[in-house]
Symmetry: C2
Subunit: 234 residues, 2 copies
Protein backbone atom coordinates (compact mmCIF):
# COMPACT_ATOMS: atom_id res chain seq x y z
CA UNK A 1 0.00 0.00 0.00
CA UNK A 2 1.33 3.31 -0.99
CA UNK A 3 0.68 6.67 0.59
CA UNK A 4 -2.54 8.55 0.00
CA UNK A 5 -1.09 11.42 -1.99
CA UNK A 6 0.83 9.06 -4.29
CA UNK A 7 -2.32 7.10 -5.01
CA UNK A 8 -4.13 10.33 -5.82
CA UNK A 9 -1.28 11.39 -8.11
CA UNK A 10 -1.44 8.06 -9.96
CA UNK A 11 -5.16 8.27 -10.38
CA UNK A 12 -5.17 11.87 -11.60
CA UNK A 13 -2.21 11.16 -13.87
CA UNK A 14 -4.09 8.28 -15.44
CA UNK A 15 -7.18 10.46 -15.83
CA UNK A 16 -5.14 13.17 -17.53
CA UNK A 17 -3.46 10.75 -19.92
CA UNK A 18 -6.77 9.13 -20.79
CA UNK A 19 -8.09 12.55 -21.79
CA UNK A 20 -10.80 12.65 -19.14
CA UNK A 21 -10.47 16.41 -18.65
CA UNK A 22 -9.58 17.38 -22.19
CA UNK A 23 -12.84 19.19 -22.84
CA UNK A 24 -12.82 21.51 -19.88
CA UNK A 25 -9.01 21.71 -19.77
CA UNK A 26 -9.35 21.98 -16.01
CA UNK A 27 -9.17 19.71 -13.02
CA UNK A 28 -11.95 19.84 -10.42
CA UNK A 29 -11.37 22.45 -7.73
CA UNK A 30 -9.46 21.51 -4.60
CA UNK A 31 -12.62 21.26 -2.51
CA UNK A 32 -14.15 18.75 -4.91
CA UNK A 33 -10.99 16.65 -4.90
CA UNK A 34 -11.00 16.74 -1.08
CA UNK A 35 -14.57 15.51 -1.14
CA UNK A 36 -13.85 12.84 -3.76
CA UNK A 37 -10.78 11.38 -2.07
CA UNK A 38 -11.84 12.08 1.50
CA UNK A 39 -8.51 13.54 2.59
CA UNK A 40 -7.34 16.81 4.06
CA UNK A 41 -6.59 19.87 1.98
CA UNK A 42 -2.85 19.50 2.63
CA UNK A 43 -2.82 16.04 1.13
CA UNK A 44 -4.70 17.15 -1.97
CA UNK A 45 -2.40 20.11 -2.38
CA UNK A 46 0.64 17.87 -2.08
CA UNK A 47 -0.73 15.63 -4.84
CA UNK A 48 -1.44 18.64 -7.06
CA UNK A 49 2.07 19.97 -6.39
CA UNK A 50 3.47 16.70 -7.75
CA UNK A 51 1.41 17.10 -10.92
CA UNK A 52 2.63 20.67 -11.26
CA UNK A 53 6.23 19.50 -10.94
CA UNK A 54 5.70 16.86 -13.55
CA UNK A 55 4.41 19.53 -15.90
CA UNK A 56 0.84 18.23 -16.18
CA UNK A 57 -1.02 21.20 -14.72
CA UNK A 58 -0.65 24.73 -13.41
CA UNK A 59 -2.65 26.49 -10.76
CA UNK A 60 -3.98 30.05 -10.98
CA UNK A 61 -4.97 31.68 -7.73
CA UNK A 62 -8.62 32.58 -7.71
CA UNK A 63 -9.31 30.65 -10.86
CA UNK A 64 -8.50 26.95 -10.89
CA UNK A 65 -6.25 24.08 -11.88
CA UNK A 66 -5.53 24.10 -15.61
CA UNK A 67 -4.12 21.40 -17.84
CA UNK A 68 -0.82 22.11 -19.53
CA UNK A 69 -1.19 20.67 -22.96
CA UNK A 70 2.35 20.07 -24.18
CA UNK A 71 1.69 17.21 -26.55
CA UNK A 72 3.93 14.58 -25.08
CA UNK A 73 4.04 12.35 -28.09
CA UNK A 74 7.33 11.68 -29.80
CA UNK A 75 9.34 13.50 -27.17
CA UNK A 76 11.66 12.08 -24.58
CA UNK A 77 10.52 13.72 -21.37
CA UNK A 78 13.17 15.08 -19.07
CA UNK A 79 10.77 14.73 -16.15
CA UNK A 80 9.91 11.03 -16.11
CA UNK A 81 13.34 9.55 -16.50
CA UNK A 82 12.49 5.93 -16.21
CA UNK A 83 13.73 4.75 -19.53
CA UNK A 84 12.49 4.67 -23.08
CA UNK A 85 9.79 2.19 -22.24
CA UNK A 86 7.99 4.95 -20.34
CA UNK A 87 8.56 7.64 -22.94
CA UNK A 88 7.26 5.64 -25.87
CA UNK A 89 4.61 3.32 -24.45
CA UNK A 90 3.12 2.67 -27.87
CA UNK A 91 6.32 1.98 -29.72
CA UNK A 92 8.51 -1.01 -30.15
CA UNK A 93 11.63 -0.68 -28.05
CA UNK A 94 14.54 -3.02 -28.67
CA UNK A 95 18.11 -3.22 -27.45
CA UNK A 96 21.05 -4.89 -29.06
CA UNK A 97 23.77 -5.73 -26.58
CA UNK A 98 27.16 -4.96 -28.05
CA UNK A 99 29.34 -5.38 -25.02
CA UNK A 100 29.00 -6.53 -21.39
CA UNK A 101 31.97 -6.90 -19.10
CA UNK A 102 33.28 -6.21 -15.63
CA UNK A 103 36.05 -3.65 -15.34
CA UNK A 104 37.85 -1.97 -12.47
CA UNK A 105 37.26 1.73 -11.89
CA UNK A 106 40.21 3.88 -12.86
CA UNK A 107 40.83 7.16 -11.10
CA UNK A 108 38.55 9.16 -13.34
CA UNK A 109 35.62 6.74 -13.22
CA UNK A 110 36.04 6.30 -9.45
CA UNK A 111 35.68 10.03 -9.01
CA UNK A 112 32.59 10.17 -11.19
CA UNK A 113 30.99 7.23 -9.38
CA UNK A 114 32.14 8.33 -5.94
CA UNK A 115 33.69 4.94 -5.28
CA UNK A 116 37.18 3.60 -4.64
CA UNK A 117 39.70 3.08 -7.42
CA UNK A 118 39.56 -0.57 -8.46
CA UNK A 119 35.90 -1.10 -7.60
CA UNK A 120 34.19 -3.67 -9.84
CA UNK A 121 32.04 -1.93 -12.42
CA UNK A 122 29.76 -3.42 -15.04
CA UNK A 123 30.36 -1.88 -18.42
CA UNK A 124 27.60 -2.18 -21.01
CA UNK A 125 27.36 -0.98 -24.54
CA UNK A 126 23.92 -1.13 -26.08
CA UNK A 127 22.36 0.00 -29.32
CA UNK A 128 18.75 0.96 -28.79
CA UNK A 129 16.01 0.91 -31.38
CA UNK A 130 12.63 2.64 -31.42
CA UNK A 131 10.23 1.23 -34.01
CA UNK A 132 13.07 -0.62 -35.73
CA UNK A 133 15.10 2.56 -36.21
CA UNK A 134 18.45 3.02 -34.46
CA UNK A 135 17.80 5.57 -31.74
CA UNK A 136 20.87 5.79 -29.53
CA UNK A 137 24.15 4.19 -28.51
CA UNK A 138 24.46 3.82 -24.74
CA UNK A 139 27.65 3.37 -22.77
CA UNK A 140 26.68 2.47 -19.21
CA UNK A 141 28.74 1.94 -16.06
CA UNK A 142 27.03 0.28 -13.08
CA UNK A 143 28.59 -0.07 -9.63
CA UNK A 144 28.70 -3.82 -8.96
CA UNK A 145 28.51 -3.22 -5.20
CA UNK A 146 25.04 -1.74 -5.77
CA UNK A 147 23.91 -3.80 -8.76
CA UNK A 148 25.39 -7.19 -7.88
CA UNK A 149 24.01 -9.05 -10.87
CA UNK A 150 23.72 -8.32 -14.56
CA UNK A 151 23.15 -10.58 -17.53
CA UNK A 152 22.68 -10.43 -21.26
CA UNK A 153 19.06 -11.23 -20.70
CA UNK A 154 18.49 -8.25 -18.40
CA UNK A 155 20.51 -5.91 -20.58
CA UNK A 156 18.23 -6.77 -23.48
CA UNK A 157 15.20 -5.59 -21.60
CA UNK A 158 14.83 -2.69 -19.21
CA UNK A 159 17.64 -2.34 -16.71
CA UNK A 160 15.57 0.13 -14.74
CA UNK A 161 12.66 -2.20 -14.17
CA UNK A 162 15.17 -4.82 -13.00
CA UNK A 163 16.64 -2.38 -10.49
CA UNK A 164 13.30 -1.17 -9.18
CA UNK A 165 11.20 -4.32 -9.28
CA UNK A 166 13.72 -7.08 -8.69
CA UNK A 167 16.50 -5.49 -6.69
CA UNK A 168 13.96 -3.32 -4.83
CA UNK A 169 16.22 -0.30 -4.97
CA UNK A 170 14.74 3.17 -5.15
CA UNK A 171 16.17 5.64 -7.59
CA UNK A 172 16.43 9.15 -6.21
CA UNK A 173 17.74 11.67 -8.69
CA UNK A 174 20.00 12.23 -11.67
CA UNK A 175 22.33 14.87 -13.06
CA UNK A 176 22.17 15.17 -16.84
CA UNK A 177 24.59 17.09 -19.01
CA UNK A 178 23.21 17.68 -22.49
CA UNK A 179 25.10 18.91 -25.54
CA UNK A 180 25.50 18.54 -29.29
CA UNK A 181 28.63 17.13 -30.90
CA UNK A 182 30.00 15.50 -34.02
CA UNK A 183 29.52 11.77 -34.39
CA UNK A 184 32.58 9.55 -34.15
CA UNK A 185 32.88 6.83 -36.77
CA UNK A 186 31.88 3.90 -34.54
CA UNK A 187 28.66 5.52 -33.31
CA UNK A 188 27.91 6.79 -36.80
CA UNK A 189 28.06 3.29 -38.17
CA UNK A 190 25.82 1.91 -35.45
CA UNK A 191 23.25 4.68 -35.94
CA UNK A 192 23.44 4.34 -39.73
CA UNK A 193 24.59 7.93 -40.07
CA UNK A 194 27.79 9.53 -41.33
CA UNK A 195 30.86 10.48 -39.36
CA UNK A 196 30.72 14.13 -38.26
CA UNK A 197 26.96 14.26 -38.50
CA UNK A 198 25.38 16.01 -35.50
CA UNK A 199 24.42 14.05 -32.42
CA UNK A 200 22.65 14.86 -29.19
CA UNK A 201 24.68 13.56 -26.26
CA UNK A 202 23.42 13.07 -22.70
CA UNK A 203 25.80 12.24 -19.87
CA UNK A 204 24.01 10.88 -16.82
CA UNK A 205 24.95 10.37 -13.21
CA UNK A 206 22.15 8.52 -11.44
CA UNK A 207 21.75 8.30 -7.65
CA UNK A 208 19.72 6.14 -5.29
CA UNK A 209 17.46 7.88 -2.77
CA UNK A 210 20.24 7.82 -0.20
CA UNK A 211 22.68 9.61 -2.48
CA UNK A 212 24.71 6.59 -3.68
CA UNK A 213 25.83 6.76 -7.31
CA UNK A 214 24.87 3.55 -9.06
CA UNK A 215 25.08 4.54 -12.72
CA UNK A 216 27.15 6.74 -14.95
CA UNK A 217 26.30 6.69 -18.61
CA UNK A 218 26.82 8.44 -21.90
CA UNK A 219 24.06 8.24 -24.46
CA UNK A 220 24.69 9.23 -28.07
CA UNK A 221 21.42 9.94 -29.81
CA UNK A 222 20.38 9.84 -33.42
CA UNK A 223 19.68 13.52 -34.10
CA UNK A 224 17.04 12.63 -36.65
CA UNK A 225 14.64 11.06 -34.21
CA UNK A 226 15.45 12.45 -30.77
CA UNK A 227 13.66 15.45 -29.34
CA UNK A 228 13.71 16.13 -25.63
CA UNK A 229 10.90 17.90 -23.83
CA UNK A 230 11.59 19.89 -20.71
CA UNK A 231 8.69 21.40 -18.80
CA UNK A 232 10.09 24.14 -16.58
CA UNK A 233 8.49 26.03 -13.72
CA UNK A 234 9.64 29.40 -12.45
Amino acid sequence: MSTKYKQIVSELEADLLSGKYNEVKKLPREEDLIEKYQVSRTTIRKAIAMLVNKGYVYQVQGSGIFIREASLQDYVSLENLKGLTRDFPDKKIESKLINLMVINADEDLAKQMKCDVGTDIYFLERLRYVNEEPFAVEYTYLNKNVIPYMSEEIAHRSIYSFIINDLKLSIGFADKIIYADKLDSESAQLLQLSENDPTLVIENTVFLTNGTVFEVSKVIHNYKNTKLLKLANF
Copy 2:
Protein backbone atom coordinates in the same frame (compact mmCIF):
# COMPACT_ATOMS: atom_id res chain seq x y z
CA MET B 1 7.38 41.85 1.58
CA SER B 2 7.56 38.38 0.27
CA THR B 3 6.25 35.25 1.91
CA LYS B 4 8.14 33.53 4.70
CA TYR B 5 9.05 30.40 2.80
CA LYS B 6 10.34 32.37 -0.17
CA GLN B 7 12.56 34.44 2.08
CA ILE B 8 13.90 31.27 3.67
CA VAL B 9 14.57 29.78 0.23
CA SER B 10 16.47 32.92 -0.82
CA GLU B 11 18.54 32.90 2.31
CA LEU B 12 19.41 29.21 2.17
CA GLU B 13 20.11 29.48 -1.57
CA ALA B 14 22.55 32.31 -0.92
CA ASP B 15 24.17 30.30 1.88
CA LEU B 16 24.57 27.30 -0.40
CA LEU B 17 26.06 29.33 -3.23
CA SER B 18 28.44 31.08 -0.85
CA GLY B 19 29.72 27.67 0.23
CA LYS B 20 28.61 28.04 3.84
CA TYR B 21 27.79 24.34 4.18
CA ASN B 22 30.45 22.92 1.88
CA GLU B 23 32.41 21.30 4.68
CA VAL B 24 29.63 19.31 6.29
CA LYS B 25 27.78 18.87 2.96
CA LYS B 26 24.59 19.00 4.98
CA LEU B 27 21.99 21.56 5.91
CA PRO B 28 20.93 21.89 9.56
CA ARG B 29 18.14 19.55 10.53
CA GLU B 30 14.54 20.68 10.14
CA GLU B 31 14.14 21.35 13.85
CA ASP B 32 17.13 23.69 13.87
CA LEU B 33 15.81 25.56 10.84
CA ILE B 34 12.43 25.86 12.55
CA GLU B 35 14.19 27.34 15.59
CA LYS B 36 16.33 29.65 13.48
CA TYR B 37 13.54 31.06 11.36
CA GLN B 38 10.78 30.83 13.98
CA VAL B 39 8.24 29.25 11.68
CA SER B 40 6.18 26.08 11.66
CA ARG B 41 7.51 22.79 10.37
CA THR B 42 5.22 22.95 7.32
CA THR B 43 6.77 26.25 6.25
CA ILE B 44 10.31 24.95 6.63
CA ARG B 45 9.44 21.81 4.73
CA LYS B 46 7.92 23.88 1.93
CA ALA B 47 11.14 25.88 1.67
CA ILE B 48 13.24 22.71 1.61
CA ALA B 49 10.97 21.24 -1.04
CA MET B 50 11.74 24.23 -3.24
CA LEU B 51 15.46 23.65 -2.80
CA VAL B 52 14.99 19.97 -3.66
CA ASN B 53 13.13 20.93 -6.84
CA LYS B 54 15.85 23.32 -7.84
CA GLY B 55 18.37 20.51 -7.45
CA TYR B 56 20.31 22.00 -4.55
CA VAL B 57 19.71 19.34 -1.92
CA TYR B 58 18.15 15.94 -1.27
CA GLN B 59 16.60 14.59 1.89
CA VAL B 60 17.18 11.14 3.35
CA GLN B 61 14.63 9.92 5.84
CA GLY B 62 16.20 9.32 9.24
CA SER B 63 19.45 10.93 8.20
CA GLY B 64 19.33 14.55 7.07
CA ILE B 65 19.38 17.13 4.30
CA PHE B 66 22.37 16.66 2.00
CA ILE B 67 23.87 19.00 -0.54
CA ARG B 68 23.82 17.91 -4.16
CA GLU B 69 27.11 18.98 -5.54
CA ALA B 70 26.62 19.20 -9.28
CA SER B 71 29.19 21.83 -10.09
CA LEU B 72 27.05 24.44 -11.74
CA GLN B 73 29.83 26.30 -13.43
CA ASP B 74 29.86 26.55 -17.20
CA TYR B 75 26.50 24.90 -17.58
CA VAL B 76 23.24 26.42 -18.62
CA SER B 77 20.82 25.24 -15.98
CA LEU B 78 17.48 23.95 -17.12
CA GLU B 79 16.02 24.77 -13.70
CA ASN B 80 16.62 28.51 -13.32
CA LEU B 81 15.48 29.71 -16.68
CA LYS B 82 15.87 33.41 -16.22
CA GLY B 83 18.34 34.10 -18.95
CA LEU B 84 22.03 33.85 -19.49
CA THR B 85 22.73 36.59 -16.98
CA ARG B 86 21.66 34.19 -14.23
CA ASP B 87 23.52 31.20 -15.62
CA PHE B 88 26.86 32.94 -16.02
CA PRO B 89 27.00 35.57 -13.29
CA ASP B 90 30.76 35.95 -13.59
CA LYS B 91 30.95 36.21 -17.34
CA LYS B 92 30.52 39.00 -19.80
CA ILE B 93 27.20 38.70 -21.58
CA GLU B 94 26.54 40.77 -24.68
CA SER B 95 23.85 40.84 -27.31
CA LYS B 96 24.00 42.12 -30.81
CA LEU B 97 20.62 43.06 -32.18
CA ILE B 98 20.29 41.91 -35.76
CA ASN B 99 16.65 42.54 -36.35
CA LEU B 100 13.68 44.10 -34.53
CA MET B 101 10.31 44.54 -36.14
CA VAL B 102 6.59 44.14 -35.64
CA ILE B 103 4.86 41.48 -37.67
CA ASN B 104 1.36 40.01 -37.79
CA ALA B 105 0.90 36.46 -36.58
CA ASP B 106 0.22 34.05 -39.41
CA GLU B 107 -1.84 30.95 -38.80
CA ASP B 108 1.06 28.85 -37.60
CA LEU B 109 2.47 31.44 -35.21
CA ALA B 110 -1.00 32.28 -33.90
CA LYS B 111 -1.48 28.65 -33.00
CA GLN B 112 1.86 28.46 -31.23
CA MET B 113 1.21 31.67 -29.32
CA LYS B 114 -2.44 30.90 -28.64
CA CYS B 115 -3.51 34.25 -30.08
CA ASP B 116 -5.61 35.42 -33.02
CA VAL B 117 -4.28 35.47 -36.55
CA GLY B 118 -3.05 38.98 -37.32
CA THR B 119 -2.08 39.84 -33.73
CA ASP B 120 0.88 42.23 -33.53
CA ILE B 121 4.03 40.35 -32.61
CA TYR B 122 7.51 41.69 -31.95
CA PHE B 123 10.11 39.72 -33.87
CA LEU B 124 13.69 39.92 -32.63
CA GLU B 125 16.84 38.34 -33.92
CA ARG B 126 19.80 38.55 -31.58
CA LEU B 127 23.30 37.16 -31.56
CA ARG B 128 24.43 36.49 -28.02
CA TYR B 129 28.00 36.45 -26.80
CA VAL B 130 29.48 34.96 -23.64
CA ASN B 131 32.96 36.23 -22.85
CA GLU B 132 33.29 37.69 -26.33
CA GLU B 133 32.56 34.34 -28.00
CA PRO B 134 29.44 33.85 -30.11
CA PHE B 135 27.17 31.68 -28.03
CA ALA B 136 23.79 31.50 -29.72
CA VAL B 137 21.47 32.98 -32.32
CA GLU B 138 18.02 33.74 -30.91
CA TYR B 139 14.83 34.21 -32.88
CA THR B 140 12.21 35.56 -30.50
CA TYR B 141 8.51 36.31 -30.95
CA LEU B 142 6.78 38.39 -28.25
CA ASN B 143 3.06 39.03 -28.09
CA LYS B 144 2.66 42.82 -28.28
CA ASN B 145 -0.61 42.65 -26.34
CA VAL B 146 1.39 41.35 -23.39
CA ILE B 147 4.69 43.13 -23.96
CA PRO B 148 3.46 46.48 -25.24
CA TYR B 149 6.86 48.10 -25.60
CA MET B 150 10.21 46.97 -26.93
CA SER B 151 13.24 48.94 -28.02
CA GLU B 152 16.75 48.40 -29.31
CA GLU B 153 17.98 49.50 -25.94
CA ILE B 154 16.02 46.83 -24.05
CA ALA B 155 16.85 44.14 -26.57
CA HIS B 156 20.53 44.83 -25.99
CA ARG B 157 20.19 44.05 -22.30
CA SER B 158 18.04 41.48 -20.58
CA ILE B 159 14.51 41.22 -21.89
CA TYR B 160 13.56 39.12 -18.90
CA SER B 161 14.55 41.68 -16.32
CA PHE B 162 12.53 44.25 -18.28
CA ILE B 163 9.49 41.99 -18.19
CA ILE B 164 9.80 41.17 -14.50
CA ASN B 165 11.07 44.43 -13.02
CA ASP B 166 9.55 47.06 -15.27
CA LEU B 167 6.39 45.51 -16.66
CA LYS B 168 5.77 43.73 -13.33
CA LEU B 169 4.65 40.57 -15.06
CA SER B 170 5.27 37.20 -13.46
CA ILE B 171 6.60 34.39 -15.57
CA GLY B 172 5.03 31.04 -14.80
CA PHE B 173 6.44 28.18 -16.81
CA ALA B 174 7.98 27.14 -20.10
CA ASP B 175 7.96 24.22 -22.53
CA LYS B 176 11.33 23.52 -24.06
CA ILE B 177 12.00 21.22 -26.98
CA ILE B 178 15.67 20.33 -27.28
CA TYR B 179 17.42 18.64 -30.19
CA ALA B 180 20.57 18.57 -32.30
CA ASP B 181 20.63 19.58 -35.93
CA LYS B 182 22.86 20.75 -38.76
CA LEU B 183 23.66 24.45 -38.93
CA ASP B 184 22.18 26.48 -41.75
CA SER B 185 24.54 28.86 -43.51
CA GLU B 186 23.24 32.07 -41.93
CA SER B 187 23.53 30.82 -38.36
CA ALA B 188 26.87 29.23 -39.14
CA GLN B 189 28.25 32.53 -40.28
CA LEU B 190 26.97 34.35 -37.21
CA LEU B 191 28.42 31.73 -34.86
CA GLN B 192 31.70 31.63 -36.79
CA LEU B 193 31.21 27.95 -37.57
CA SER B 194 30.73 26.01 -40.79
CA GLU B 195 27.51 25.09 -42.50
CA ASN B 196 26.36 21.59 -41.50
CA ASP B 197 28.31 21.69 -38.25
CA PRO B 198 26.27 20.39 -35.31
CA THR B 199 24.13 22.74 -33.26
CA LEU B 200 22.04 22.42 -30.13
CA VAL B 201 18.60 23.88 -30.73
CA ILE B 202 16.08 24.87 -28.06
CA GLU B 203 12.54 25.83 -28.97
CA ASN B 204 10.77 27.64 -26.14
CA THR B 205 7.18 28.51 -25.38
CA VAL B 206 7.04 30.71 -22.31
CA PHE B 207 3.91 31.39 -20.26
CA LEU B 208 2.89 33.91 -17.62
CA THR B 209 1.60 32.60 -14.30
CA ASN B 210 -1.96 32.79 -15.59
CA GLY B 211 -1.18 30.60 -18.60
CA THR B 212 -0.87 33.33 -21.25
CA VAL B 213 1.82 32.69 -23.87
CA PHE B 214 4.02 35.75 -24.16
CA GLU B 215 7.09 34.35 -25.91
CA VAL B 216 7.93 31.77 -28.53
CA SER B 217 11.58 31.47 -29.45
CA LYS B 218 14.11 29.32 -31.22
CA VAL B 219 17.68 29.41 -29.96
CA ILE B 220 20.49 27.99 -32.06
CA HIS B 221 23.49 27.31 -29.87
CA ASN B 222 27.18 27.08 -30.61
CA TYR B 223 27.84 23.41 -29.91
CA LYS B 224 31.39 24.18 -28.82
CA ASN B 225 30.45 26.16 -25.75
CA THR B 226 26.95 25.10 -24.75
CA LYS B 227 26.30 22.43 -22.19
CA LEU B 228 22.96 22.15 -20.45
CA LEU B 229 22.55 20.79 -16.98
CA LYS B 230 19.34 19.11 -15.95
CA LEU B 231 18.87 18.02 -12.33
CA ALA B 232 16.10 15.46 -12.26
CA ASN B 233 14.17 14.00 -9.34
CA PHE B 234 12.30 10.70 -9.41
